[in-house]
């Protein structure tokens, strides 16, 4: 009985740790190393001018329909927030990463990712962000975030992620 309880507790702890990783890890672009802990290099989520705040509260990414680069209504809401944040925090630059799901040929997906990144950049510029603060890059299908082969993963991989930096801009 004791043994069984302990085993259950261990499994629970492990499950909680896993879900914390999946949801709470700070991310500076999907290629960057996750820095765990609210006081990491990305600052505190409670500090509205921190990268952590931008990534988690404003939202650093928008999603796209299959083979599309149209900014939909929910993406607009996220990007409106990004534009506002970028204008109140002018020391930051942004690199918009465009991605595709695996259901496409490699080079086409590279072009599709570029189209998505450009759509986000154009939208941010239309909302007042200076064009020279935003750069774009495409990863095509080279860097999936989720690795299963069905729509639940594909929908998360068809994305554009705004990665903040403090570089000199474009």
């Amino acid at each position: 009985m004791t043994m069984s309880l302990r085993a259950t507790a261990l499994i629970l702890t492990a499950a909680m740790a896993l879900s914390a990783c999946a949801q709470g890890g700070l991310r500076g672009g999907d290629d960057a190393i996750n820095l765990n802990g609210a006081q990491g290099a990305f600052g505190s989520v409670s500090d509205p001018s921190s990268i952590a705040y931008f990534n988690q509260i404003v939202g650093d990414r928008v999603l796209f329909a299959v083979d599309q680069s149209t900014i939909n209504a929910s993406a607009m809401a996220v990007l409106d927030g990004q534009a506002e944040w970028l204008m109140t925090n002018p020391e930051f630059t942004a690199l918009v990463e465009g991605h595709a799901d695996e259901q496409g040929t490699r080079e086409y997906n590279l072009a599709l990712g570029a189209r998505r990144a450009a759509a986000v950049r154009d939208y941010l510029v239309s909302r007042g962000v200076a064009p020279n603060r935003i750069n774009t890059i495409s990863f095509g299908k080279e860097r999936p975030l989720e690795i299963c082969s069905d729509e639940s993963c594909y929908s998360q991989n068809r994305r554009a992620v705004t990665v903040l930096g403090t570089g000199a801009g474009v």
Partner: protein, 446 residues
């Protein structure tokens, strides 16, 4: 590991094979010939007794060369090897008369006899091919001379000769393949450019795994490779000299403009590639030696994956100008664009056959991927494969076999290189040291 190209001197010395073989009886008049057609082919049975080692030093090479020749021929799906255990005759002297009845009795239609001699660091390989039922040699005996460590190429040269004499098609065994070697989990893949013999032997890495690389292509002479790398931080076209493994960016491109999908023109003097500006991708052309860039397509859609006809007069490419990926042909110098893909689904990665007769492509329809071929006007479309994800065909130099990438589904999905012939037969996985993608077949080695 660095491999250098071995010199292989092809000696055209013909040693009058027929003259040494007395008393030939012609049992049939039709010479041995295998037509490669679209229909089902019964593999042609052949026998290859282990090549004779003329001296002790050549024993290993003789056995290895025999094994590779047999594997080349079997791998085509056109030939069936009769096991040595079924042989009645043994061949102990390269110049001895062939006991045709012994080979007829086991239904060997072709017989390959050879010998290997080692002199210092050099190998000499001689072979003869016999048409067993016509009871005569098929072509002259040939001798190849090369370095000891060039034995695989010598074996491939013998196999090419046998293949050519029996099928009338150019052989493709003495060739190499540049591809992308992959390691690591699906969401953090490491990629390296690598080179291998067409059969997976002699793997050589050309780049390290620090930057994503993709879609390499050989130059028409095989001495250069062009590919896309993230080395500078963004996708950019690089050109590499194969012998020295030195590389340089194809041209200076301003930041923010991604270049990718490079291919050599038919004469190798220029490169066509895609460049993205502000989200829009078009195809451009630039001389390898530097010079002005010219724009070949100008549309608000994605234009990519160009490929030239062997005569250099036309270019095939993919575009999503009508909404989804389709295949188009245009004159090489620019001009009227004609859509050639007509079926349902999406069509991409068109590659013009080195023979000029077909265009290979990737087709995507209802969640499945196919490798297919069509005539250059889009007619006679045939799908050769089907799977979760097949893409990126590349032609063998004789235009009769294709390699492509096949990736399996799921979190543990992995890419591998496969080959298939243009009738859709003989689907095989190519032996690679690990996960592999984006193969590009070299021309015949010089």
């Amino acid at each position: 590991m660095l491999l250098t190209r071995r010199s292989l001197i092809r000696s055209a010395s013909v040693f009058a094979a027929a003259a040494t073989l007395p008393g030939l009886v012609r049992a049939q008049t039709r010479p041995l010939r295998l037509e490669i057609t679209e229909g089902v082919i019964e593999p042609l049975p052949f026998a290859i007794p282990s090549f004779i080692a003329r001296n002790g030093a050549a024993a290993d090479a003789a056995a290895d060369i025999t094994r590779v020749i047999a594997a080349d021929l079997r791998g085509t799906g056109l030939f069936r090897q009769i096991p040595d255990s079924a042989h009645i005759s043994s061949v102990t002297n390269f110049d001895a008369p062939i006991l045709y009845p012994d080979w007829q009795a086991i239904n060997a239609q072709a017989l390959i006899v050879g010998e290997v001699e080692q002199q210092g660091g050099r190998l000499i390989v001689r072979f003869r091919l016999f048409d067993v039922f016509s009871q005569q040699p098929l072509g002259d005996g040939l001798q190849f001379v090369g370095t000891r460590d060039g034995w695989r190429r010598m074996a491939h040269n013998v196999a090419d000769q046998v293949y050519e004499r029996i099928t009338g098609e150019t052989g493709y065994f003495d060739t190499r393949v540049v591809f992308v070697h992959e390691e690591g989990p699906k969401n953090a893949r490491l990629k390296r450019l690598a080179l291998m013999d067409y059969d997976g032997a002699n793997v050589q890495f050309l780049t390290d795994s620090r930057s994503i690389v993709m879609a390499p292509r050989f130059s028409p002479t095989g001495d250069r490779i062009i590919y896309t790398s993230y080395e500078s931080g963004q996708p950019r076209v690089y050109i590499m000299d194969v012998a020295s493994v030195s590389r340089r960016p194809l041209e200076a491109v301003s930041a923010g403009n991604m270049t990718f999908s490079p291919r050599f023109t038919a004469d190798g003097g220029s490169v066509v590639f895609s460049m993205e500006q502000g989200g829009n991708t078009d195809i451009y052309r630039v001389p390898v030696s530097g010079g002005a860039r010219s724009q070949l397509t100008n549309a608000p859609s994605i234009e990519t994956a160009p490929s030239f006809s062997p005569d250099g007069s036309r270019m095939v490419f993919e575009s999503d100008r009508t909404g989804g990926q389709q295949i188009y042909v245009m004159p090489a110098g620019g001009g009227e664009v004609q859509r050639i893909s007509r079926g349902s689904g999406r069509y991409g990665t068109p590659v013009w056959s080195p023979r000029g007769d077909y265009i290979a492509f990737t087709k995507q329809e209802r969640g499945r991927f196919h490798i297919g071929v069509m005539r250059t006007n889009g007619s006679e479309e045939r799908l050769l494969t089907a799977s979760f994800l097949d893409e990126g065909p590349t032609w063998a130099p004789n235009g009769r076999v294709l390699m492509f990438t096949r990736e399996t589904a799921g979190a543990n999905g992995a890419p591998a290189v496969y080959s298939v012939d243009i009738s859709g037969r003989n689907l095989q996985r190519v032996a690679t040291p690990g996960m592999a993608s984006d193969p590009s077949w070299s021309p015949r080695l010089p």
